[in-house]
Structures are given as structure tokens and as C-alpha cells.
């Protein structure tokens, strides 16, 4: 089975529709997704080749229960062990994997769970990624907050008690310029202790600029590491260039960022191969930059505005759990974030085993925190959401739920140096 991603919005002109269909149906109308375009910095790095060749060779059907049990007994989890833990042969050993994952989590993080919230400041986008609510052909309400509005949103969020924020934009350099994002970081420093970014990939000097503005963590989702599939999903825009995106974390580290986060969007392609590649991407980069703080996210596909049917296909909660436990056993020191795409029940369970960070008080829309936080009716325009969330808990509810599970919520464990 496949997701039916392609939707023709009524707002599109005949010319736009014609172009959209051409991109969708005619591969030769699309650019080469492996060739850098103008202005994209090319760094020398062998990490992409290493990750892709491991992924290519990965035949998960060859692993057996014996390999899985051996992996669970080894003192250190090798790449080969990790491959076994991600294989179908490991599915019957989920409880054993959970127990080992819990031990590793406790060794490195004790019983702490970090809480943060994302803040979308603009949803304009120049990419056509067919599964994403922000894609340039999707008929949604577009918006970009001005600085006053950004500050207002931040003050509403900060009042709730939140101390860590992740600033997001759609991927449009023309609508959300580097300077605009930098100003948002400076404003965020006034209200929050820790500022992360999830915006379009930029060059090393641009990451340095954003770091100087107050951001210290950069998240870039590769979405899928399967180049062939990537090419079919990202039809237009700078995001189409696979290697430029892949090397974003390395440029961020070279630009002085303290930490970087990685993710595949599970459900887009073969999830076992994508999970392998995601963790290896983090693993090899941390070996090359040992001071880097690395973390992994594990989002599954969600429905979007104008396409309610999008779903993560064969990545059910059991498979997602297997991936998260394998991540934890392979990279015991890495942060693992589980987003509000997942249910309250799932997140309550997973923070006790392997996840170290959860979001709360989440909106993936633009400019609607006051109405969502206070329950008052929205005044003025708002921008539509990137995807539908599942766990809608507020900051205070999340805080008390984590505490009642015997875990220690942590709002900040960071200094900007």
C-alpha cells in the first residue's frame, strides 16, 4: 500500500497546475537532486558515503534471533549489533530491548526528562515536498509573524514556564531571511534559556551568524536517506538537493553550534533502512566531532491539511518502539525526542524507557499560541499547521504527568557560552 500524496488545490492557476503535474509525472522535468545549486557551500566530508553504503548493504532479513540475543548481551553495541536490533528478528524481543534501553538511559540521564516547545514563526515555503502541509502547492493560510508578533508569542509561551524553545519556519529564504531568523533568535534569548533552530539548511558562515544571535542547536530532518525515494518526494526547491541537506549538521558544527539533531520521517520509505541511516549519520558525525551533542527524533508521518489520509503505513507503535530502543542501545549518550505526533499514552510509556525529551504546549500553526494557551478566541490572522498533532497536553499538564510517573522534568540544563 502507498500513501496518496498528490492533491490539486482549487486556488492553483492553470499554469501552476500544469507545472505541478509535470513535476509529479515527468521525472525529466525535475532537477538532479544530487547536484548543488548556486550559493550552496560544498564541504569535504566522507560521512554521507559511509552512511549510504552501510544502508545499501543492509539486508535486515538475514538477521536471526541468535544475532539479536547476542547484540543484547554485548557490552558495547556495534554497528552490526544495531543492525540486528533493527531487524524483524528483533520484534519478539521488544521487552528485553526495552529493559536494556532503560538501563542505558538511566546511566546517562538518570530519571530526567527535558521539556521544550516548538514555535513556528512562518509557514511560507518554496519546496514541493508532497507529504508536507507547508508545501508550496498546498492551499493553506500562509503567514509570517513580524518581530512584535514573535515577541508576543514568546512572552505567552514563556509565561507558561517553558525555558527551551525550538524556532521553526517553512523553507523560504525570500520570505524568512537569515536576518529575520537571526532576529527571532535574539528575541528568544530574552525569554528562554535555550534556543534551537529547525529552519532551512544554510552555509557554515550563516550557521555561525545564527549561533552568534543566540541559537546553539540545529535540527535538520533528512526525511528519508533513500535517494531514489527522496527524489520522488521532494520535487522542487532547495530541499531537493539531498547532499546539501545531509551535510547541514556538519556545517552547523563547523559554524560553532553545540548540538545537532537528526531524523528520518518514518513511513516515507523503508523504515528499517531509514532508522539505520539516521543513527549512523549521528554516529559518524559524533566520531568526527566528539564534542558535539547529538540527538535523534523519530517522527512518523501524520495527516496534513487537505490530506487527512496520510499515515505512517507499516510503522506501528511496536515498530516505532523497536527503533527507539535500538537507537538508545546503540547511542546511549544521544538525546531522543518524541514529538506530539505521538499519543499521550505512547509518550508516557516511552519516556520511562528511552526518550529524554518531549514537547508540550505544541502548535504547528503560526501566531495562535495565545488562543491555544488561554482558550480565548483567535484575534487576527493565523497561519495553518504543518501537520496534525496527537498529544495536545499543555506544559503544566505534561510537567505534572512526568512528575507523577516518578521522573524529574527538566526545563533547562544549558548555558549559552
Amino acid at each position: 500500500m502507498e500513501n496518496q500524496y498528490l492533491i490539486d488545490g482549487k486556488q492553483l492557476s492553470d499554469k501552476a497546475l500544469e507545472r505541478k503535474h509535470e513535476l509529479e509525472n515527468c521525472p525529466s522535468s525535475r532537477t538532479d537532486c544530487m547536484t548543488y545549486t548556486e550559493g550552496m557551500e560544498h564541504i569535504e566530508s566522507d560521512i554521507m558515503d559511509k552512511v549510504l553504503s552501510e544502508m545499501k548493504e543492509y539486508d535486515y532479513s538475514k538477521y536471526t534471533a541468535k544475532d539479536v540475543l547476542a547484540a543484547l548481551q554485548h557490552r558495547n553495541c556495534s554497528v552490526e549489533d544495531f543492525k540486528a536490533l533493527l531487524s524483524p528478528a528483533a520484534e519478539p524481543f521488544l521487552e528485553k530491548m526495552a529493559q536494556k534501553a532503560k538501563l542505558e538511559t538511566e546511566k546517562h540521564f538518570g530519571n530526567t526528562v527535558y521539556i521544550f516547545t516548538p514555535l513556528y514563526i512562518a509557514n511560507y515555503c518554496e519546496n514541493y515536498c508532497i507529504y508536507c502541509g507547508f508545501n508550496c502547492y498546498n492551499d493553506i493560510s500562509r503567514m509570517k509573524l513580524d518581530y512584535k508578533q514573535i515577541e508576543h508569542e514568546m512572552s505567552v509561551i514563556a509565561k507558561s514556564g517553558m525555558e527551551e524553545i525550538l524556532i521553526l519556519t517553512g523553507e523560504s529564504r525570500s520570505m524568512s531571511s537569515l536576518e529575520y531568523i537571526g532576529e527571532a533568535c535574539k528575541l528568544a534569548k530574552k525569554y528562554f534559556r535555550m534556543v534551537g533552530l529547525e529552519v532551512y539548511p544554510v552555509n557554515t558562515d550563516e550557521y555561525r551568524f545564527l549561533h552568534d544571535c543566540g541559537a546553539d542547536y540545529v535540527t535538520v530532518f533528512q526525511e528519508t536517506y533513500d535517494i531514489h525515494r527522496y527524489e520522488q518526494l521532494h520535487l522542487l526547491g532547495r530541499k531537493r538537493i539531498f547532499p546539501y541537506r545531509f551535510n547541514a549538521q556538519e556545517r552547523a558544527l563547523k559554524g560553532g553550534m553545540r548540538g545537532v539533531a537528526f531524523s528520518a520521517l518514518l513511513g516515507l520509505s523503508d523504515f528499517r533502512k531509514d532508522a539505520l541511516a539516521t543513527a549512523l549519520h549521528a554516529y559518524y558525525l559524533q566520531r568526527k566531532y566528539p564534542q558535539a551533542e547529538v540527538s535523534l527524533s523519530c517522527p512518523r508521518l501524520r495527516p496534513i491539511i487537505n490530506n487527512e489520509k496520510i499515515n505512517p503505513l507499516d510503522v506501528h507503535e511496536r515498530q516505532l518502539s523497536q527503533i527507539i530502543f535500538a537507537y538508545r542501545i546503540f547511542l546511549p549518550f544521544a538525546g531522543i525526542t518524541v514529538s506530539s505526533r505521538e499519543s499521550e499514552n505512547f509518550r508516557n510509556g516511552i519516556v520511562k524507557i528511552a526518550a529524554t525529551k518531549v514537547s508540550a504546549g505544541v502548535s504547528t500553526g503560526i501566531g495562535d499560541h495565545e488562543s491555544k494557551y488561554s482558550g480565548e478566541k483567535q484575534v487576527g490572522k493565523k497561519g495553518d499547521e504543518q501537520f496534525e498533532i496527537n498529544d495536545t497536553r499543555s506544559f503544566s499538564k505534561m510537567y505534572s504527568d512526568i512528575s507523577s510517573e516518578g521522573l524529574q522534568p527538566v526545563l533547562n540544563d544549558y548555558l549559552y557560552l
Partner: protein
């Protein structure tokens, strides 16, 4: 018996330094009590919080704070964090932690020496976390450290005295208190380090991952006391094999 631990001119009766970062804040008070601890470490970056759940609010007032510089990647960052700790009202003690590796969190000895020198001159009571290396330990003494804190094994690993032989060399050669830090997973390992002549033990994860944290805190206290007493009493020799007659080689000497 008056057996005090003296660090930078400050006197302590307890030889158990407690960590605070990996367990519930509301357990800190009982952990301190059951451990009989007089010094507790805290990460300055964890105390860098606005209102709710500031770790500083949970630490009993009669305990000496030992703020650490975790998060520092070089001497300059450690110095800045130490100064911030002073501004936050954490006192003059500082535990220097400088790591350039997020996987094992092993300390960077050369940078630690640099930070120790700067902070000791500024009047801090400097307690550097270090990889047990005699040359660097001597450098730390010369830089003005008040104690040295060699690691037993990687932080959080609970693997015990993996660096035992090297810690013993530091105990034998360094005239400052040698406080074994990181990797101590069981009371028996803490006891062993104390028998060797360590001045004190620092533990965090071993308690945080215990089923009953206050009970484990008290187990560590007993083990540390036992090890200390054994050290002070002078350990008897341990035979590697067999029994021994009284003078097997020199029995022929009659005069």
C-alpha cells in the same frame, strides 16, 4: 577520633560527596541526610533556570555547594561558568569539568590545568575532575588545586575502579586530598577506594539508578566509613597463596 577532611582550609566530617543531577529534586534532602553528606555537587547549567524547580531551592542550606562546570569544552568556558556560579551565590568552591567528548565524558587534563590556575588565583577552592595521570596531577597541585578528583571509570558507567593502579599512584604521590569521582557503582567499590587511601568518594549515578535512593545513600555512607577506618587502622597483608611459616628464608640466621 578526630578525622577531618580538609579542603582549601575548610573542614568536613563526611567523606561522601553527593551528586544531584540525575534524580528527583524532592529526593535530594533525604539523600543528603542518609548519606550524611556535607558537600553536594550541582551543575551550574541546571541551576541556570528561571523559576520552577531550580535545583538550588532543593539543597539544604547547611550543605556546602560544589558547583561544577559541566558543559564547558575548554578552560575559557569553565572559567566563565565558575564565575557565574559565584554570581548565582553558590560560594567559592568549584569542581572543574571540561569535556571535549559527549560519548564518554572524559576530562581534558591540559585544559583543566589552565582553568585551575586562573580560578585558584581568583580565590576559588578548585577541585578538578581529571583523568588519573601523575604528571597532570602534579601540574594541578602547582596550579593551586585544593584537591584532585580522578575518575574511577567513565561517568555513569557504574564500572568501579577501572583506573585503580593509577589512582593508587596519585594517592601515594600527591599531597592533596585525592577524591575518587565518577564510575563508582557500588558501596563495595567505594569502600575499596577508601581502603586505598582516597580522601573521599563522589557518587551520583549509583544512587540515582538504585531502587531505593536514600537507602543506597546510607549504604554508601557505611561503606565509606568502613573503608576509611580500615585505611587508618593499617590493612593487614593478604597472602596470594598458601600459608607461611614465620621466617621461611631467613630461618637459618641464629645470631
Amino acid at each position: 577520633m578526630n578525622d577531618v577532611l580538609e579542603i582549601g582550609g575548610h573542614k568536613f566530617n563526611s567523606r561522601f560527596i553527593l551528586g544531584s543531577g540525575k534524580y528527583s529534586l524532592n529526593l535530594i534532602e533525604s539523600a543528603v541526610k542518609d548519606a550524611g553528606a556535607e558537600i553536594i555537587t550541582l551543575a551550574v547549567r541546571r541551576a541556570n533556570t528561571k523559576e520552577k524547580e531550580n535545583i538550588l531551592d532543593y539543597i539544604p542550606k547547611n550543605v556546602t555547594l560544589l558547583p561544577n562546570t559541566s558543559g564547558a569544552r575548554n578552560a575559557d568556558e569553565a572559567v566563565r561558568i565558575a564565575r557565574l556560579a559565584r554570581e548565582l551565590g553558590c560560594g567559592d568552591f568549584v569542581k572543574i569539568e571540561i569535556m571535549r567528548d559527549t560519548k564518554y565524558l572524559l576530562p581534558d587534563n591540559p585544559e583543566t590545568v589552565k582553568a585551575t590556575e586562573i580560578l585558584a588565583k581568583e580565590g576559588f577552592v578548585v577541585m578538578p575532575y581529571m583523568y588519573p595521570d601523575l604528571n597532570f596531577a602534579r601540574d594541578l597541585v602547582n596550579a593551586g588545586a585544593a584537591a584532585i578528583m580522578p575518575l574511577a571509570s567513565p561517568i555513569g558507567s557504574n564500572k568501579g575502579l577501572a583506573t585503580k593502579e593509577f589512582i593508587q599512584i596519585l594517592i601515594d604521590e600527591i599531597d592533596l586530598p585525592v577524591i575518587v569521582d565518577a564510575g563508582i557503582g557500588r558501596p563495595s567499590q567505594a569502600c575499596e577506594a577508601m581502603e586505598m587511601g582516597a580522601a573521599a568518594i563522589m557518587a551520583n549515578t549509583a544512587l540515582a539508578t538504585a531502587g531505593d535512593l536514600p537507602l543506597m545513600a546510607s549504604a554508601f555512607k557505611l561503606a565509606i566509613d568502613a573503608g576509611r577506618k580500615a585505611y587508618l587502622s593499617g590493612l593487614g597483608r593478604v597472602l596470594t597463596r598458601g600459608a607461611s611459616s614465620s621466617d621461611p628464608l631467613t630461618g637459618f640466621l641464629h645470631d
